[in-house]
Amino acid sequence: MRVTLTVNGAETTADVEPRLLLVHYLRDVLGLTGTHWGCDTSNCGACTVWLDGVPIKSCTTLAAMADGHEVRTVEGLASEDGLDPVQQGFVEEHGLQCGFCTPGMMMTARALLDRIPDPDEATIREAISGNLCRCTGYENIVRAIRWAARHEAERTSEEAAV
């Protein structure tokens, strides 16, 4: 079947098997390998991407379900101005080690901050509870997201001052 998805702002189209998973469409059809596959069962969240602005698990979503919709992946996080504050926060606070869960974790984090710009620790922990990380013990991921929130707040207030 033919599917047409907007991925990171660009329209993509391909003939795919109806059973093709979105994660495989992104990785194998488009070559966007930043989205990872980790568990098959929606538990680990390594495959988290946005579907119309909402984080979803792309390992249990068919490419066909995303037909006509907008998808955003880790490759779409940075802008021409540089890294997204979430990406920078993960660097600054050592929020990653092996890096495998990181793209999905950052997509979840970005969605959280868009919804709640200044989340407390409990809110952050709940938001990322569908993304497993085996390396960090989560502490520095929480700090990374708080770093991003803090810097976005500063940036907003600077812009307001200008």
């Binding site: 098997e17 059973r19 093709l20 990785r27 070559g31 966007l32 390998t33 930043g34 989205t35 990872h36 596959w37 980790g38 568990c39 098959d40 069962t41 538990n43 680990c44 390594a46 992946t73 880790v74 490759e75 996080l77 940075a78 890294l83 990406q87 920078q88 993960f90 660097v91 600054e92 050592h94 990653l96 080690q97 092996c98 890096g99 495998f100 869960c101 990181t102 793209p103 950052m106 620790e121 952050i124 922990r125 709940e126 990322i128 509870s129 569908g130 993304n131 497993l132 990380c133 085996r134 390396c135 960090t136 013990g137 989560y138 502490e139 520095n140 991921i141 929480v142």
Partner: protein, 811 residues
Amino acid sequence: MTTTDMPAAPSSDTVPRSPAGNPLGFGHMLRKEDARFVRGQGHYVDDVRLPGMLHGAILRSSYAHARVVSIDTSAAEAHPKVKAVITGKILETLNLAWMPTLSGDVTAVLATDKVRFHGQEVAFVVAEDEYSARDALELIEVEYEPLPAVVDATHALDPDAPIIRDDLEGRTDNKIYDWEAGDEAACDEAFAKADVVVAEDLVYPRVHPAPMETCGAVAHMDKVTGKLTIWTTTQAPHAHRTVYALVAGLPEHKIQVISPDIGGGFGNKVGIYPGYVLAIVGSIVTGAPVKWMEDRSENLMSTSFARDYHMHGEIAATKDGKILALRVRVLADHGAFNGVAQPTKFPAGFFHIFTGSYDYPAAHCKVTAVYTNKALGGVAYACSFRITEAVYLVERMVNCLAFELKQDPAELRMKNLLRPEQFPYMSPTGWEYDSGDYPRALREAMRIAGYEELRREQASRRAAAAQPGADPTAPLMGIGLSFFTEGVGAGPRKHMDILGLGMADGCELRIHPTGKAQLRLSVQTQGQGHETTFAQIVSHVIGLPPEDIEVIHGDTDNTPFGLGTYGSRSTPVSGAAAAVAAQRIKDKARVIAAAALECSVDDLEWEHGRWFVRGDPTQGKTIAELAMIAHGSLELPEGVEGHLDASVVYNPPNLTYPFGAYICVVDVDPQTGQVKVRRFIAVDDCGPRINPMIVEGQIHGGLADGIGMALMEVIAFDRDGNNLGGSFMDYLLPTSMECPSWELGQTVTPSPHHPIGVKGVGESATVGSPPAVVNAVLDALQVRSADMPFTPAMTWRALEGRPMRPDLAIE
């Protein structure tokens, strides 16, 4: 030529900084590798895409123990997208149906005679895409004749137990080995004199490292050049290359093993799995590159499990709590093939370091290993070659002693800890602990925890709960301690080898003419941050900015030989190699500086990456300047070659012995059995910290492992041997909700024999934390005995006084 002394580790606030703001040596530095990871540009095995690449999938046994009567692959072969179907019979013709394990046994690549565990590899399909390969698996007809399975290790040696390994000639039982360490007679004597003897049965259940990236490989056999290139999830690329040469008879110089970015290892990626070999065979058969990536169920069911130790401990003490002796009998469940990855001379790994951190003269252990109808493995999940089981044993036994003596477990530990003046300390089972100040670490943990205050809070809560009309839902508060000593950095080659390969590691350091450097390592990061840490090690010694030092690893064609990253050995062994290589560069640079400055080497002094003339600091040359001179036309002293390179193979004289004191505070819901970890305090001493940020990150991850093992992780089996932990819906990993905000502290005791004084740390928290959590839960329940994991059901049963086995779904 004189050798200059290795610089002492500076404290991180005084370390000079590079133009980019990085420390010239030890100190907080953001990771060099993160730039690609946060952009989604990490390059993992599953990201490898080659022209014409095919995909493999493995058919697995649905029985734990069965005779393979027949395999019909005709329908699968007829699938239009299938390129090859490989069975054990085909592998037999290539002499590849079996391969050696890392422990002197053999394991089946594809089953020929029998299947011996649920999930064992039976057939391999190669197809144009992964979906078609998996479709074709459904078309293979296998006729099995089911056999009774050995599921409970405690019955593996029963006279009527089915013989699992009838492939081995003369096998009449399921025993793999008996092994012992320590002095049994001295131990018996100490027990005879003891006021108190406490015995305890402990199960350290089967768990799984479960890295977020599963295992896999892309194999490409180039028939024209005869070169095999294999991109694979390996923590030990050089060891794997040698094993492939030995297994497949392939010429080693024509094998290139590439370990790209690895999505976590934790010991899961040390072994060589049938899938890797099958990808190679698939490429040989089809002439195309073949990718094989296991799915999560395959990962949990068939690759390297960890632990599965059934222990009976006995501790002897005086009535006031001075420990006299410890002895232990272990029944080790190794699964259907003996495939543990550990130094050859240590069949039970380093378990016999079980005397722990305490001062007593007598100890003895006896380990009996058995085959069962379960997947192979045993040494994995950040276990430091079974020190995890050893620490769990001694820390539970000490707590049981405290329970029986009604002593505070902190006080009992303090009374028995080794004292600083006893180091270097020779343990009763033959380990030479290099350095330590244990009481200081425990005091520091108790200070951070506010230990006395916590005990007061607990006492007042208990008093309130004992009042008539007390709230039955009030949480039960528990405080648990553990103290661990690890021996990491295997190891001295005369004692330690794997498959005959001595556990030394090579390192090459090249300083290019413009003063930019490349460091080539035999070890392979799986997230530990080697690209940053090792650059800092070199920077520490020769003063080049870490941003000017590129770390190259994970490619056997481009790095020197060595045994890889596991057992917390990278910094103790390879880190020492890097430091020694840098030291050689520094020494050679001094000779070149003397020639360039027309002075004697003895007139030169060193500071911040440059040699200068004593008394005239303006007369000097930086390492970068000396690199250009070394590659230039200056006449060098006789016997001094040009260029500024060094190559080192480091053979460690001893292990390094990191240690730490951990305190866990839990609240248990008495009505549901739900355990909430309120606080976790971890004081680690791994010597000087090269990059404190990375060290803390390593500790955080290990503490989460401890929460996982103590509260939720277990691979259990039903009575037929079906694996009940085959997905993340059944095998639970800790999330951000179960982990508290970790409270870390440190003490610093350098290793006297490591060139820069550092000790390994990668596994410390995984090793040290489970008993702290378990001791806390049992303290909350005011119960002496029960096995982890403390899922709500297990906790509730323990509270009811009816604890159950964690590893079997059999009442």
